[in-house]
C-alpha cells in the first residue's frame, strides 16, 4: 500500500470527560461540525461533548469558546508529517 495515498486529518481534538459540562458551545462553534454530544453521563451527571473521530482541521476554535480551562485539547498534524501527505495542500495551512 502506498503511504502517500493515506489522507490524514489536519487536526484532532479530544474532550476530558471529567471537565466537560456539556454546554454545547464547542458544537455550535466548530466550523466543520465534527463535535457531537455523547449519549452517556460523566461522573458529575453531565452529558459531554465528544469528537466524531474525523474531519478536524485543528483550528482551535472549540478550545477558544470552551469555558472550562482544560476540557478541550486540540492537536495539529506536525508539519513534517503533513508535508509527506502528498497533494493534500496542507503545507500552507500548517505554516
Amino acid at each position: 500500500m502506498d503511504a502517500t495515498a493515506v489522507k490524514h486529518d489536519r487536526g484532532k481534538m479530544c474532550v476530558d470527560e471529567n471537565e466537560c459540562k456539556g454546554c454545547g458551545l464547542c458544537m455550535e462553534a466548530c466550523p466543520p461540525k465534527v463535535i457531537a454530544m455523547s449519549d452517556h453521563l460523566n461522573h458529575y451527571g453531565y452529558k459531554t461533548a465528544e469528537y466524531c473521530g474525523e474531519g478536524c482541521t485543528g483550528c482551535g476554535i472549540c478550545f477558544m469558546v470552551c469555558p472550562e480551562p482544560g476540557a478541550i485539547t486540540v492537536m495539529r498534524l506536525k508539519a513534517k508529517a503533513a508535508a509527506a501527505v502528498s497533494g493534500s495542500g496542507l503545507e500552507g495551512a500548517n505554516a
Partner: protein, 488 residues
C-alpha cells in the same frame, strides 16, 4: 517500496499553565470549575491565563478576585491571589501595585461588584490612572445571589427584584462603564468586547492580552469590559445565551475601543517607596525623648525569656473589662513585645456583656483571637460560665465572686476566686476591681516589668487620683495572689 507513515500530532491548544492542575476547592470537585455550563467567566479566565502565559508574567502576577461568582478565582489561577471585599478590588490593586511596582496587578470584577458597590473605587482608580489592569465581566445581573437587578441590567429585563422588567423610572438606565470612564483623562486603554460568537471571542482574547501587556509596559490604567453570558440566571441554554449577548445585549452596550492612548503613553514612573519606619520620627519632627525608639525596645525584648500569653477578660460593660485588656496590651507594647487587643462587645454601653482578647508574645502574633486562654479573668458569673471550659489545662481562672460555682470547677486549672469588687471598695472604689484582678494576673504571668505597667497606666488613665488608686489596686492584687496561691 511501501511504508506506513504514522501521523504525528502536536498539541496546539490545551490548558494554559497559569491554571492550577487541579483545584483544591472541595474533595469531589477538583477537575472542573464551579461555574455553570456555558458561563462566560470560564472563557475570560482562560483568556487571562493565556495572556499571562504568553507574556511570561506568571511569577509576578497578582490576581484580585472580587465578590460574586468569580470569588473563587484563587482556586484556579496559579498566581498570587488576594480576595477583596465587595467592590474594593481596584483599591486593593492600587495599594499592592504601589508597594510592589514590579508585580502585575489584575483586578477581576463582575458588574454588581464594579458598577454598584464598587462604583467609587473603579472611578477613582481610573481617574488616578493606576497602572493596573481591570477585567470587568458584565452579564447585566447579580448572578451569585440569585438574579437581582444590577446597574447594568437592560431596560425591560426581568430580574427577581424587577419582576416586570427594569423600568427607567424606578431603576434608571443601564450604566455604561466604558463610556463613563473614557471621559476621564488618565486611562490609557478601554475596550468593550463580547462573548457572542467566535469572532467576538477572538477579539476579546486579543483585548485582554493587550490590557495586561499595557501594564507590563508600565503605560497605565487599562480596562476591558466583557459582555458575558449567564445561562442560569437568564434561563437560557448556553448557546441561546451566547446569541443573546450579540443579538440583544450588544445593542445597549456597543462593542469597540473607547479609549486608546497607548501609542502616546509613556511608561509611568512607579511611585516612590514609603520611607523606612525608622525615619518616621524625623519626618514628623518628633524630638521628644518620651517616645523611645521601637528598635531599642525590640533588643530588650530579644534578651528576655519567651513569652506567649493568651488572656480573655470578660464581664459586664462598665466593669472596666476593655480597659483592663488595654492596659495589659499597652504594657506589653511598652516592654517591647508583640501584642494584640481585640474588644468584643454588644451595642449596649452599660450592662451588656463585654469581653476582650489580649495576646502578648515575644514572637509575631498569628491571630488576635484567644480561643484557649492561659488566663481567664471572669468579672461575673455569666462570664465564668461562658468561658470557663475554654481555659487551657494548667491555666488560670480569676473569678470575681465570694464562692466559685461548684459546677464550674475543673481539676486541670488553677482558680483564684475572691470578691475583688469588695476588696476594691475597701481600698477606695469598687470600680478598681479590674485593677486588683490585673495585679493578680501580672503576678501569674510574670512577664511584664513594673515600669511598663506604670507607663501604660499613665498613658491610658487621665486622672491623677485614679492613677494613684489603680496603683494601689494593682499592688493589692499582687499581694492577694501571693497570700492565696503560694504553694499551688
Amino acid at each position: 517500496m511501501s511504508s506506513v507513515i504514522i501521523p504525528e500530532y502536536e498539541v496546539t491548544h490545551s490548558r494554559p499553565n497559569a491554571f492550577n492542575k487541579s483545584y483544591e476547592r472541595k474533595g469531589e470537585l477538583k477537575h472542573a470549575t464551579h461555574y455553570c455550563p456555558g458561563c462566560g467567566h470560564g472563557n475570560v479566565h482562560k483568556m487571562l491565563a493565556e495572556a499571562i502565559d504568553q507574556l511570561g508574567i506568571q511569577d509576578r502576577t497578582i490576581l484580585i478576585s472580587p465578590v460574586g461568582c468569580s470569588v473563587f478565582a484563587y482556586y484556579y489561577f496559579d498566581v498570587g491571589n488576594v480576595q477583596a471585599a465587595h467592590g474594593r478590588a481596584p483599591a486593593v490593586a492600587t495599594a499592592m501595585k504601589r508597594s510592589r511596582p514590579e508585580s502585575i496587578l489584575i483586578s477581576y470584577q463582575g458588574d454588581g461588584d464594579l458598577t454598584a458597590i464598587g462604583a467609587a473605587e473603579i472611578l477613582h482608580a481610573a481617574n488616578r490612572g493606576e497602572n493596573i489592569t481591570v477585567i470587568f465581566v458584565n452579564n447585566g445581573i447579580y448572578s451569585m445571589t440569585g438574579g437581582q437587578v444590577a446597574p447594568t441590567t437592560l431596560v425591560g429585563q426581568k430580574s427577581t427584584t424587577t419582576p416586570n422588567g427594569r423600568s427607567i423610572e424606578n431603576e434608571g438606565y443601564p450604566m455604561r462603564v466604558c463610556e463613563l470612564l473614557a471621559t476621564l483623562e488618565a486611562p490609557v486603554y478601554i475596550e468593550r468586547v463580547g462573548l457572542g460568537d467566535n469572532k467576538q471571542i477572538a477579539q476579546a482574547t486579543r483585548a485582554i492580552k493587550r490590557a495586561v501587556e499595557n501594564q507590563s509596559k508600565g503605560l497605565g490604567f487599562s480596562l476591558v469590559e466583557v459582555l458575558s453570558p449567564c445561562p442560569t440566571i437568564w434561563k437560557m441554554s448556553a448557546v441561546d445565551a451566547q446569541h443573546w449577548v450579540r443579538g440583544v445585549m450588544e445593542k445597549t452596550y456597543p462593542l469597540g475601543v473607547y479609549c486608546d492612548k497607548t501609542k502616546d503613553a509613556h511608561p509611568r514612573t512607579p511611585h516612590a517607596p514609603a520611607p523606612p519606619l525608622s525615619e518616621l520620627r524625623k519626618i514628623m519632627g518628633i524630638t521628644s525623648e518620651e517616645i523611645s525608639a521601637p528598635e531599642v525596645k525590640q533588643e530588650i525584648a530579644a534578651d528576655k525569656k519567651k513569652v506567649d500569653l493568651h488572656v480573655r477578660v470578660a464581664g459586664f460593660g462598665g466593669q472596666g473589662v476593655l480597659l483592663l485588656g488595654e492596659i495589659l496590651a499597652e504594657a506589653g507594647l511598652d516592654a517591647g513585645m508583640q501584642v494584640s487587643w481585640l474588644p468584643s462587645y454588644g451595642p449596649e454601653m452599660r450592662s451588656g456583656t463585654s469581653n476582650c482578647h489580649v495576646r502578648i508574645s515575644s514572637e509575631s502574633i498569628d491571630s488576635p483571637l484567644v480561643a484557649l486562654p492561659d488566663v481567664l479573668i471572669a468579672m461575673n458569673e455569666p462570664s465564668l460560665r461562658k468561658f470557663d471550659a475554654s481555659v487551657r489545662p494548667g491555666g488560670w481562672v480569676l473569678y470575681n465572686g465570694d464562692t466559685f460555682p461548684g459546677d464550674c470547677e475543673r481539676k486541670d486549672v488553677n482558680v483564684l476566686a475572691l470578691p475583688f469588687t469588695n476588696i476594691a471598695l475597701e481600698i477606695g472604689d469598687a470600680r478598681a476591681a479590674n485593677m486588683v484582678m490585673l495585679g493578680a494576673l501580672l503576678e501569674i504571668a510574670d512577664a511584664l516589668p513594673q515600669a511598663s505597667i506604670d507607663a501604660a497606666l499613665n498613658r491610658l488613665v487621665k486622672s491623677k487620683k485614679w492613677i494613684e488608686l489603680d496603683e494601689r489596686a494593682l499592688q493589692m492584687g499582687r499581694e492577694l495572689y501571693h497570700e492565696a496561691c503560694v504553694g499551688v
